[in-house]
Symmetry: C2
């Protein structure tokens, strides 16, 4: 085989895999947004077949031979080609360890579980979801045993979302956060509470949607390549390449800030995906490199920018345009204080910046113990409620607002949650670095996201999966990651807000 010929074959292979991913992601997106209620089994049937085809394609003999041939010539490959071959072989080695029937059965289970979770959440019925969640955890343990028998099962899960992450890292990271956040929360709760009256009222879906589109434009998201849908739980997905990205949100009719910050969060994910280097389209290197880096971007826009005084000042006229009645008598400063009100609460996606990581810690603890066999899935609701009482001091009234609130587990996302906390901490340090060359507050006040987005594109987005997450982060920061930059940022911001 000629090298040139092999490289062309690699291109075609990647384009095919992108096409399967497009189809499967769209079927998932359709299920979450517009599909009629009774069609989950039909989607499950199709997804099981497409995932089988895609599995065969990416692990088949011909593919393995091609990749091994290229790997043997890695000295002659470009950086991009070498990284592609490395990642493809790594994922094949892993997939090869999983019997195909198991892989396919798991994909099908996830489609059904997604549907059942929706119903279970709607009807506040954990018992309905429990057998599916048991099978999902059991599958994850089985996958860990196949793919990384040398590791503890939960370390296998963590590594899937953040290359190299372990329970040891997480324990240390969360301990660092806890040691600073718990005293901060105590100081805050001793103070007079900020008012959030300006967030409440009646906000109809159509006005919220128009406001969401204005927010996306303001952030510099290209609406010709990024759509907005509504789902129970907001998410971002790319279809086939970074040329077609979809974000979703959920409108709370009584609080506009809920969807507003979902849109900005998912918009951050979308900006990352949309801005891969164009040459990466239809290749394995297209799109974000890890969930930690992805969350560093989404939570960067949502909180570090989105809940800053400068941004809220710029958004306030938009709020007045879309919700003139509801905003009457309020100022930008009222909104700024309201969206930064610290209050231990029930719902992770609506938590303030300070208590947010405690929500993540609850999930981390529970996943760790279920994966270690120390906690049964059926006992999750009781443990969830106990930990919310212990960490956040709140009583969970029902599973709908408790253990059933997130979609991640129904989609097999065990090990995902720590990325949110890590991403928040990465983001704080990235912002400190960005400020060395960009006057971020001035940009936000002017509604000029171009210099901010250009910095992120240059240091993070354009690389897609070309670099390892750790390397990418270190090069962008010019120093090692330090979680205390994040806690200092929180102490300073909320110190000022709560005096």
């Amino acid at each position: 085989m000629e090298l040139q010929q092999a490289l062309e074959q690699l291109s075609r292979l990647q384009a095919k895999m992108a096409a399967y991913n497009h189809a499967m992601a769209l079927i998932y997106y359709d299920g979450a947004t517009t599909a009629p209620k009774g069609t989950a089994a039909n989607r499950g049937q199709t997804l099981s077949i497409l995932s089988e085809e895609s599995y065969r394609l990416s692990t088949g003999k011909e593919t393995v031979e091609l990749l091994e041939f290229l790997d043997a010539h890695r000295e002659e490959l470009s950086e991009r080609e070498a990284r592609t071959v490395f990642l493809a072989l790594k994922s094949i080695r892993e997939l090869q360890k999983i019997p195909m029937e198991e892989y396919v059965a798991y994909q099908q289970l996830l489609v059904e579980a997604e549907d059942i979770w929706h119903t279970a959440k709607e009807t506040d019925d954990f018992a309905l979801f429990c057998p599916f969640l048991e099978r999902i955890f059991a599958f994850e343990k089985k996958l860990a045993a196949y793919c990384a028998p040398e590791k503890k099962p939960y370390d296998y899960c963590l590594d899937k979302y953040e290359d190299g992450l372990t329970m040891e890292d997480c324990d240390a990271f969360f301990e660092a956060l806890r040691s600073r956040l718990v005293p901060l929360i105590q100081r805050i709760t001793a103070k007079e509470q900020l008012s959030n009256a300006c967030l409440c009222g009646h906000f109809d879906d159509a006005a919220q949607e128009a406001f969401s589109l204005d927010l996306m434009r303001l952030m510099g998201i290209d609406l010709a390549h990024c759509g907005l849908g509504t789902t129970e739980h907001p998410f971002t997905t790319s279809l086939g390449s970074h040329h077609d990205v979809r974000i979703t949100t959920h409108y709370d009719p009584e609080n506009f800030a809920s969807s507003m910050y979902s849109v900005i969060h998912e918009g951050g994910h979308a900006l990352y995906d949309l801005n891969s280097d164009d040459e990466l389209a239809y290749t394995l290197l297209d799109g974000g490199v890890s969930m930690g880096i992805h969350e560093s971007q989404s939570r960067f826009y949502e909180n570090l920018l989105g809940r800053s005084r400068a941004f809220v000042e710029r958004v306030f006229p938009l709020l007045c345009k879309h919700f003139p009645e509801q905003m009457r008598g309020y100022t930008a400063e009222d909104v700024y204080r309201a969206v930064n009100r610290v209050t231990p609460s029930l719902i992770r996606t609506e938590a303030d910046e300070v208590t947010y990581c405690l929500h993540v810690m609850v999930r981390y603890e529970l996943e760790k113990r279920v994966m270690a066999g120390e906690l049964a899935v059926r006992d999750l609701p009781a443990e969830w409620n106990r930990l919310y009482r212990e960490y956040l001091g709140v009583e969970v009234p029902n599973d709908r607002r408790g253990v059933l609130q997130d979609s991640h587990w129904s989609g097999g996302g065990i090990g995902y949650f720590p990325s949110y906390a890590l991403g928040s901490a990465y983001g704080a340090q990235l912002l400190r670095k960005m400020r060395e060359s960009v006057d971020v507050d001035a940009c936000l006040r002017e509604g000029n996201f171009a210099p901010i987005n250009a910095w992120n594109r240059e240091h993070i987005w354009k690389f897609g999966c070309l670099k390892k997450p750790g390397e990418l982060l270190r090069e962008a920061l010019g120093e090692d990651f330090d979680p205390l930059v994040y806690t200092s940022y929180l102490e300073e911001k909320f110190g000022e807000l709560y005096q």
Copy 2:
């Protein structure tokens, strides 16, 4: 190879093809409903790859050997198995005649053309669409030359939508219609015009959507398996099997009847698809057998039932519920007369029952002449306008409301239009037959579609593609097809309306 083993292989093959069809139909549906504007090329890339995979799957060596083995054992097959093998071999023999690159290039062209057509229609710019339409007609001629060199190219096109249909049949059929309809239209236009004032006003999208869903429920459409979307041009599609069907409509803010009759029309298609025998799911026999039969069902619900006095009487309270202001002072009889107002007009989908077939004849004449090389694509607008003047006596003010109005050509649907007229005529004769055992008017007045749907399910829907369209129709009718049943129905109904 064992017969049993071969049959199992056939099942798996069909399930795979259904999965590819699901993916491709959904990508198309997404493009028409919710995809961001700039993403057509991305969909084109994916569709070209999936159609190539699906082409390989359905015409590959292994598949051909399997089908030929089964064909050699056709005596031992069930009726369903034998029909499946026959249809699959027939379509392979046809596909094998088309070079794969051509097939794939055509699929990709259609995706781009769809997008360009939308823009061209919006901006009233035929010149933009013209080069694409030229390539589409050129491709159709090429396909005809590959697949049916013994036939005239347009006969090849007609046969694709109605098994065995020829220009000779169409000429005779349209001549029969013309000889009765032209004098009828002359008699009607000499009379005093019916008022359509009750249809006009302002009708917002949300209220029209709620009304649409009520209509679907009334028709007995299972909303757990049939979704409603909005698109420029209404259509119906099945995703993977008859367990997931989607219909779309287009809301005219100034005339509720436009979307109302689109919903009932597409709802008729949906009922046909949704009610294939369950055992046909994920097989080649699932869903409607030909476009003529399909249109016989859609136009049956839209006109024969939907524009009947009994149905309008039942729907009137729903209209008053959703549009209380707009309906004030009107009666069911006003609506009945308004939706049956005969008036030569510009837009096919909004035409009354009597002039409708003349719209179809314009398209038939034009397609016939372009396919015969007697008319250039660039001259279509002028010829379109001339024929509308000649057949319907109306002046076409712009291409947006003229030659650019339908989506069919941009999707490669050359030869499709005659199905609408044929279907209308089939439907009239089916209704006459149904009345022998079902009191249709009483059912409509009670809003009880069950006996009507049961008759259609028993005689048409459940068979899917098991029977040839001609055979299916003859067995349902218990007699030969006679277009004069349709013209008599029109003469009687509109004779009464216009005295």
